[in-house]
């Protein structure tokens, strides 16, 4: 034997292992292991079987041959002993049997099936959850394990929850509706407020305008007052001048009676019409030529003077007379006298026109001034009937649609101005072939008078200015522009309103007059 430097211990150990006397090598050496495993299996099975039997729902196993292997107590209570039977032969509610057998087949092919079914029982309808799971052994389906669980309580709870959800939804919906309505209401109120604010602004504007107009009125009144005296003086001075002219004429007549040819010449020149036309250069040159022919060396100035006096077409004798000695002097006398006549006539005319203006201003101021004492209850139908008279041969007729027995409260005279104004405007707008209708009807305790025409309508561009003072759509000759402004002022003093609506072919001005403040006027 040779010595070993290392590994001696290892070899001895290996040798002992190789002899293996401590081990027993036999299948039976594993007997305790097998027994322990079996015991474990038995205990495990007992535990599982106890659970299987005790669970408060149906459990069952169906083998690979399609028959029941096992069923638990719950299942047996419901369906009786089924071991060895095929599911087809078990007394299952026919309504669910076909579906159950389908599920069983699919589960048997390896896919778990889970379904809730409604089942009729002696205790009324119940909801049953069936779960069918394949039993896989080495990945191969070898039967099906099934459970049936009564899930009616869950189902009921689910439905209760569903109802609660629906209620909630309804409540939310109704709250939403309420909110929306409230919102709409607020929106309406906001709009009403906006309108009120706009009205207020309008009123304020009107108030400001009114104040402005009142102050303008005062100024106008002062001007009228201040103008009155000088105008009166001018008028009387003009009158005096006119009478002086007459005196001068008489003096010249006397001068004329002297039979002096020059005096007669002056008379003839001055006897030309008061309204002297303007003569152009041709006429003036023609006269100058005639004077020159008659031997007057510087004829142009003289011709101008004669033309200014209206004597452009003197006879040949008078031309000879003017061109002759003393003729120019006579023309000079005539020019002085003629100028005096002309000026006095112009002064008188101007004074009259000024007085007219002042009078109309006064009338305006008068109309704008409310007069409580003039307000009475009156027969408005009678008044409005006069409107028909505003029509004439140059206009279309005025149709009347008046509510019988209608009465109103106000100043009939001044309101007449309103009706007249509105009707004349309407007639103007409607033209000769158009149609104008005046209507009157009661409105609450008040009355509404409207005037409708079928004219072209009010141009949108001027609607806002329609009620401005001195505004007019008519030519200067036809109106003074005070019309609608005055109408509005008159209606304002009655506490009423005037409004209009206008589309091409239909324009309606409507006046609302409130009733007597202390009550019903009756009819």
């Amino acid at each position: 034997m040779n010595g070993h430097s290392d590994g001696q211990g290892d070899l001895d150990e290996m040798y002992q292992k190789l002899l293996g006397l401590g081990d027993s090598f036999s299948v039976k050496s594993h007997y305790p292991e097998y027994k322990a495993a079996e015991r474990h299996l038995v205990e495990s099975e007992a535990r599982l079987r106890t659970m299987f039997e005790a669970v408060p729902f149906d459990m069952y196993l169906i083998g690979a041959d399609g028959t029941f292997l096992l069923s638990n107590e719950s299942y047996r209570r419901n369906f009786g002993e089924v071991q060895g039977l095929r599911p087809e032969d078990v007394d299952i509610d026919p309504a669910m049997k076909a579906g159950f057998l389908d599920d069983l087949r699919i589960a048997g092919e390896g896919t778990t099936q889970q379904r809730v079914r409604a089942v009729e029982t002696a205790n009324g309808p119940r909801w049953m959850l069936t779960i069918l799971s394949p039993i896989l052994i080495d990945g191969v389906s070898s039967g099906v394990a099934g459970v049936n669980i009564d899930v009616s309580e869950q189902k009921k709870a689910e439905q209760a929850l569903l109802t609660i959800n629906e209620d909630l939804e309804r409540i939310v919906e109704s709250r939403t509706y309420d909110l929306r309505r409230l919102n709409d209401e607020l929106e309406a109120r906001r709009k009403a407020l906006e309108r009120a604010l706009a009205d207020l602004r309008n009123t304020q504007e009107r108030l400001v305008q009114t104040r402005y107009q009142v102050s303008v009125g005062r100024v106008l009144a002062a001007i009228a007052h201040e103008l009155n005296s000088p105008l009166a003086a001018t008028e009387s001075a003009a009158g005096q001048l006119a009478s002086m002219r007459d005196e001068a004429v008489r003096a010249i007549s006397r001068f004329r009676s002297l039979a002096d040819p020059h005096a007669k010449l002056v008379d003839r020149i001055l006897s030309r019409p008061a309204d002297i036309p303007y003569y152009g250069k041709a006429r003036r040159d023609a006269l100058a030529d005639r004077l020159a022919s008659a031997g007057y060396a510087e004829p142009y100035e003289l011709a101008d003077d004669l033309c200014d006096l209206g004597a452009a077409d003197l006879g040949d004798e008078d031309v000879a007379l003017v061109a002759g000695p003393g003729g120019a002097d006579a023309v000079g006398v005539a020019w002085v006298l003629g100028s005096m006549f002309g000026s006095s006539t112009l002064a008188a005319k101007a004074a009259r026109r000024s007085a007219d203006v002042v009078r109309s201003l006064n009338a305006y101021l008068e109309l704008a001034r409310p007069d409580e004492s003039a307000l009475v209850e009156f027969d408005i139908v009678g008044r409005l009937q006069r409107c028909a008279d505003y029509g004439s041969s140059g206009t279309c007729p005025v149709a009347l649609e008046l509510e019988e027995g209608l009465r109103a409260y106000g100043d009939p005279e001044r309101l007449d101005l309103v009706w007249e104004n509105l009707v004349k405007n309407a007639l103007f707008a409607a033209g000769k072939a158009g149609r104008v209708t005046v209507r009157a009807r009661s409105d609450g305790s008040g009355a509404v008078v409207s005037v409708e025409d079928d004219g072209a309508g009010v141009d949108p561009a001027i609607r806002d200015r329609l009620f401005d003072p001195f505004f007019s759509t008519k030519a200067q000759e036809e109106g003074k522009g005070l019309g609608l402004d005055i109408c509005r002022r008159i209606i304002d003093t009655h506490g009423g309103t005037i409004s209009f609506e206008s589309i091409p072919g239909r324009t309606v001005f409507a006046v609302y007059l409130p009733g007597r403040p202390d009550g019903d006027m009756g009819r």
Partner: protein, 386 residues
């Protein structure tokens, strides 16, 4: 041997010997609880048709056999891995192996690896397998390996280029079916090599430090049968008596070494086979005489008995001396079956020897060698055999 009857254990699988034994494979598998046996074999046996007949016996028993034929001579650990994969993929529950040492050792490796979920290389050594494998039915197809009855498996570790010896009672098959008919298709050179392997098994078991009265019976009977029948079978492969005797000898030698262990010759043969991928029986044939020389003094009496079993007369042993006589008989038989001595013939070179000696010194077979040998001692034996 300080005691005449030292206490020894003797384990053998349930065994069936005789013509037709292979047809019982299916029934044995079924009796062992198999439903899907993995049938392990090699392409040569498949071609000979023996594998198909075993598969047929499985079908006849209502089993669903699966096949794994990807096994080469000197089975590799990688082949074992593939076999484990086939076993698991096929959801197999038993293994039936049809073949010689290579398929049987591969099947043992597959069984242990599948059951323990561990690489087969981790089982190297004595008693390293924790969990027994699935039922294993061995149908032996060569006369020599004895693996069908042994607790040994030799696997080629292709990563270290060494054959590892796995020795474990859990490697003992559950049934050994030895059917001499299967030997009829064994090529002559393989029959010679396996026969010499069986002889080495018997020699090493008989001189083993763990030998026992029971193994001695097997070993000596095996040597006698081999001495009378191996040369006959090589000369006349159709000799059914010789074939049957060799099948029996192989089985007996297997029982002997399985229980008594082996020795230095196998340790060195394993190292050699791993490095050169040379046939196991041939390696043993080339090393057996050198092993006898180094061990003779420790078991001189036993070697002289073996000389008698090899056919020498008591006079011959007495006149030439036991050592010379047994060596002469062994070398004569080796020559008679066509093996030319010299490791150089199988490709070994001097520079390989230290490495081979290193591997052999760590081989489990060395444990029961009657003489404790170091790597240096082993290297010298290699040198003498070169």
């Amino acid at each position: 041997m300080s005691q005449t009857y030292p206490m020894r254990k003797y384990v053998v699988p349930e065994s069936v010997f005789g013509e037709g034994a292979s047809t019982l494979a299916g029934r044995y598998a079924r009796n062992l609880g198999a439903t899907r046996p993995l049938v392990v074999s090699d392409p040569g046996l498949v071609a000979a048709g023996w594998t198909e007949s075993v598969i047929e016996s499985c079908r006849a028993e209502g089993l669903s056999p699966l096949s794994f034929f990807d096994v080469s001579p000197n089975p590799r650990c990688t082949e074992v891995d593939r076999g484990v994969e086939a076993f698991k993929d096929g959801r197999c529950d038993a293994i039936i192996v049809v073949g010689g040492g290579s398929p049987m050792d591969a099947a043992k490796g597959i069984a242990a690896s599948a059951a323990n979920g561990a690489d087969v290389r981790t089982f190297e050594g004595v008693d390293k397998i924790a969990v027994p494998g699935p039922p294993l039915v061995c149908v032996a197809s060569t006369a020599g390996t004895g693996s069908e009855v042994s607790r040994f498996a030799i696997i080629n570790d292709v990563f270290r280029h060494v054959k590892i010896a796995i020795v474990s009672p859990k490697m003992v098959p559950d049934a050994a079916l030895v059917d001499p008919r299967l030997l009829s298709t064994v090529p002559t050179d393989l029959a010679a090599a396996t026969g010499m392997d069986a002889l080495t098994h018997a020699f090493e078991a008989y001189v083993s430090s763990a030998s026992s009265a029971l193994t001695d019976l097997d070993a000596r009977q095996a040597v006698r049968l081999i001495a009378k029948n191996l040369e006959r079978l090589i000369v006349d492969p159709g000799d059914e008596d010789a074939r049957g005797a060799m099948a029996l000898a192989s089985m007996l030698a297997g029982r002997a070494f399985s229980n008594a262990g082996l020795g230095v010759v196998h340790a060195m043969a394993h190292a050699l086979g791993g490095l050169l991928d040379a046939p196991h029986g041939l390696c043993n044939a080339l090393l057996l005489d050198a092993g006898i020389e180094v061990n003779f003094e420790a078991a001189a009496e036993r070697y002289s008995e073996l000389a008698l079993d090899l056919g020498a007369s008591p006079d011959e042993v007495a006149s030439t001396g036991a050592k010379a006589c047994v060596l002469e008989r062994v070398r004569a038989l080796r020559a008679a079956v066509g093996v030319v001595p010299g490791l150089a013939n199988i490709g070994a070179v001097a520079s390989d020897l230290p490495r081979l000696a290193g591997f052999a010194a760590r081989d489990a077979c060395l444990v029961t060698n009657p003489v404790r040998l170091s790597a240096d001692d082993i290297e010298k034996i290699y040198e003498r055999s070169l």
